[in-house]
């Protein structure tokens, strides 16, 4: 019996303290997934929620997939729920700051790879990315993050999201198109605003 299976068995027999072993073993994995989807200041809270959900759902874990994989699905689901709740709250999304717009402007106008490499600034890139993702639906941002940003296969993303492969492909395509349209619009806006 694996370490996980043994801990799970003990937890299910009422020895709750063994759940702490599962947290210690998988916290890094869960935090890694969550931090790729939610803002840094909310990662601990969402990861906390993942483990609480994990405990509550433990009787339903049949061992068909490794425990870590099962937790990954819960983590992705918790991130999805986070964005859905945020969308419901209808938080207004602010416009790009001058610095961010400038970064996007330079990045999109870059002619060569060399030029582009010189321009990249990770913090600005992440800020612009966060700005763009905030304009997508929770489904689009989740699938785009898994496939385009994390480089997971469509099949893997489908498994984590509980969607069909076709559904993931379609949503991913639409999300990329939406993102491109956003950048084009922003770029054009700045092009027009620039003094000639």
């Amino acid at each position: 019996m694996s370490d996980d299976a043994e801990s799970i068995d003990r937890v299910l027999r009422g020895d709750i303290d063994h759940f702490a072993e599962l947290i210690a073993r998988h916290r890094h994995h869960v935090l890694k997934i969550v931090q790729g989807h939610v803002p840094a200041d909310r990662v601990a809270e969402v990861a906390h929620d993942v483990f609480v959900r994990g405990y509550r759902s433990l009787p339903g874990y049949g061992g068909e997939v490794p425990f870590e994989h099962w937790l990954s699905r819960l983590a992705v689901r918790a991130c999805y729920d986070y964005w859905r709740a945020k969308k419901r709250a209808d938080v207004p999304v602010s416009a790009l700051t001058e610095d961010q717009a400038g970064w996007l402007d330079r990045a999109l106008a870059a002619e060569s790879d060399e030029q582009f490499r010189e321009q990249r600034d990770w913090d600005d890139a992440l800020e612009v990315l966060a700005w763009a993702l905030a304009r997508l639906s929770p489904e689009q941002r989740l699938v785009l993050t898994l496939v385009s940003l994390e480089g997971r296969s469509v099949r893997e993303a489908a498994d984590l999201l509980g969607w069909t492969v076709v559904n993931v492909k379609v949503r991913c395509y639409r999300a990329r198109q939406a993102l491109r349209t956003l950048f084009f619009q922003e770029w054009n806006r700045h092009e027009l605003a620039r003094p000639s």
């Binding site: 709750i16 916290r27 999109l108 990315l129 385009s148 994390e150």
Partner: protein, 108 residues
């Protein structure tokens, strides 16, 4: 190169930079209290689930009554079967009389 093709190429580069920036995110570190908080919530939830409810006394009673009711139903059904098999003729006659009690319809 057309404007659209140039933009498309630029966008692909931007997407690559985003992917790289995403992978280079600094790992979030949580303190020891974080795991303890989870365990505290798990224990609290577990205690609430296992705690005595207002109708805890009724649960065994319901099961006992349900068992008794099922047994009574089986005994009743059995006795009806035995009764009807022994006196099928009178019972049939009784029902025939009940159902056939109406006057015949006048023929036109």
């Amino acid at each position: 190169m057309s404007l659209h093709a140039r933009h498309k190429k630029s966008l692909e580069k931007v997407e690559q930079v985003f992917a790289q920036a995403h992978r280079l995110r600094v790992d979030i570190v949580v303190g020891p209290d974080w795991a303890q908080d989870i365990m505290r919530e798990v224990r609290r939830g577990d205690a609430e689930q296992r705690g005595p409810s207002m109708l805890a006394w009724a649960e065994p009673l319901v099961w006992r009554v349900a068992g008794g009711a099922a047994l009574a139903a089986v005994l009743f059904a059995g006795s009806v079967l035995v009764y009807t098999s022994q006196r099928s003729a009178p019972v049939t006659a009784f029902w025939m009389e009940e159902l056939d009690a109406g006057a015949p319809l006048p023929e036109e």
